[in-house]
Symmetry: C2
Subunit: 384 residues, 2 copies
Amino acid sequence: MDNKLMLMIPGPTPVPEQVLLALAQHPIGHRSGEFSAVMAEVTQNLKWLHQTQNDVLVLTVSGTGAMEAGIINFLSPGDRVLVGSNGKFGDRWAKMSAAFGLEVEAITAEWGQPLDPEAFRQKLEADTDKTIKAVIVTHSETSTGVLNDLETINRYVKDHGQALIIVDAVTSVGAVNLPIDEWGIDVVASGSQKGYMIPPGLGFVCVSDKAWQAYETAKLPRFYLDLGSYRKAAQKNSNPFTPPVNLMLGLQTALRMMKAEGLDNIFARHQRLMQATRAAIEALSLPLFAPDNAASPAVTAVAPVSIEAEKIRSVMKKRFDIALAGGQDHFKGKIFRIGHLGFVCDRDILAAIGALEATLRELGYESMTPGAGVSAAARVLTQS
Amino acid sequence: MDNKLMLMIPGPTPVPEQVLLALAQHPIGHRSGEFSAVMAEVTQNLKWLHQTQNDVLVLTVSGTGAMEAGIINFLSPGDRVLVGSNGKFGDRWAKMSAAFGLEVEAITAEWGQPLDPEAFRQKLEADTDKTIKAVIVTHSETSTGVLNDLETINRYVKDHGQALIIVDAVTSVGAVNLPIDEWGIDVVASGSQKGYMIPPGLGFVCVSDKAWQAYETAKLPRFYLDLGSYRKAAQKNSNPFTPPVNLMLGLQTALRMMKAEGLDNIFARHQRLMQATRAAIEALSLPLFAPDNAASPAVTAVAPVSIEAEKIRSVMKKRFDIALAGGQDHFKGKIFRIGHLGFVCDRDILAAIGALEATLRELGYESMTPGAGVSAAARVLTQS
């Protein structure tokens, strides 16, 4: 049906009506007092969302641009970095680091499996000369639906004492608990079209004091992504370069909504949506791609065997107006992904699972008891 | 009056209602067929707007990010570049080039005056070893309202034969004729919140074949701003990184409006608005900051003598709900700037000049004949 699409992809995620209306406001001047007030409020609320007293800087970039800023501001050519790589995004940070002349050591895991914190521990403990300058980890790996054990990896980085920890939290900020100050995470990058409930176009970088110290001596060239300029401007509730005013107005509205819901409720909701989705997938005898102990509350990947993933996506879209994501790179056509991140409620999961059951029926899938998926999801949703 | 602000600053510029409504659409997936269709249309229309067959690539950045991409993709550390610098933005490109380790030779002019093409000719003719790799010029200098003589400077670059010409056209694309293919301009960078009539958040880089050849050997590190990735994706009507879907929908609408108006009409309108504004300022005995032969059709800067620029801006805003821009850097408080760029019609100029007259009256300015400003503007507008 025209204009009735429901996004169940891990970004862009659904956007609340009041945020859409905020976007449609006529822009104001970015050097005006009115806009400074927006910046002041947004900055305060971003700190709340990040559970931090660190700087949280807003850039006009995609998530990849935020990660690039999070890497190039704190490192110099030839610096040794450990990069966790168990999906498309981990792979991307390894490639990016290499493009900037860093000495990359990848710690890999199969796609669909979490990174092994022990592999980090060994490398970090062996580094008695303290040559490792940073550990770069993707928290929630969007391409596979895997949540890496950041807390444990970070503990080993802290034991090392010197290396910075730089985190891609693109699908974890606003979806899963990431207590930045409590854990002492140095750099956290994220993007607007995920847990933030607004369209793509804004990137966020959260920077610790330790990272700012590294900034002072870091030698990679930078100008547009120079976080020092953003920090200096942010202290005056301003921006070094013209910000996307309308997206900032949308962000202001979305952050107010998030505060009204409360962090604990937001995390509990994502946990519940994930569990309901996973219970339904299992009840439909479809293989979950990520294990239970490393499942991302942002996105659930499914690896169907007797039935083609792309056919499922196609029927879901054509017949039921639900957009699911496909697999990426070498998992294209082999998995599909259900996003349950951001502005998603319990009803959305029931709708998606109901449509998935109907789709499987249309495609002649026989390994399921009709109704089993919705029933399993409903059980989780009503228990919690 | 609340919610009645009229933007007469050189960016963000006014946004048409249908563009605002396009922005407020629920986002669609950026990997969907629907979005590819948007990309295909937008790419075609961007080529039309740029009067070119070259690639016009869309990035999620401010104008500064677009210029950075336009520089770092085609040059290597130590490369010698001539940078024209007669305002805040020219200065910025000199600083940026230095930040990336280029050997910068600045060709300067006083703020408010145009660059002297002869200075470029001399440097370029003297360069018989062809060590100059690029000439970087701001076409319309937003900070001063000066339009540099790009056509002549470019002719000398063409005589040189080797150097690329890289142009900041942030406030000239969609405002003043810039026939990229006819002149053979290699790299042209611009931003969405100007002639494009949409809010900030998108940057554009137009790249010639000669520039792509330079790209092959250019050694400055890049990843998020690597234009090769954007070109490769654009060939499939896609993007290397998540694009700001809503801004792209706004862009689609704005480009359709621009096509309906026609390039010649758009340029004639900006010319008319500039002439009307300048005639009015002169009729009010206020000093124009830029000379007639180098006046930008995007923005008119005024340097009042007997009356404070910031007081004028303050009354214009408080009493008449018109936002004007102030001076930047060392011209803060010394000039004010009237933006007449993008979605601005003849009526807007009459309103702004009428309000300016009333403001001058309120501030006790005596060197004017009441009505002279509006009358002079009206004369220009009705003649053309």
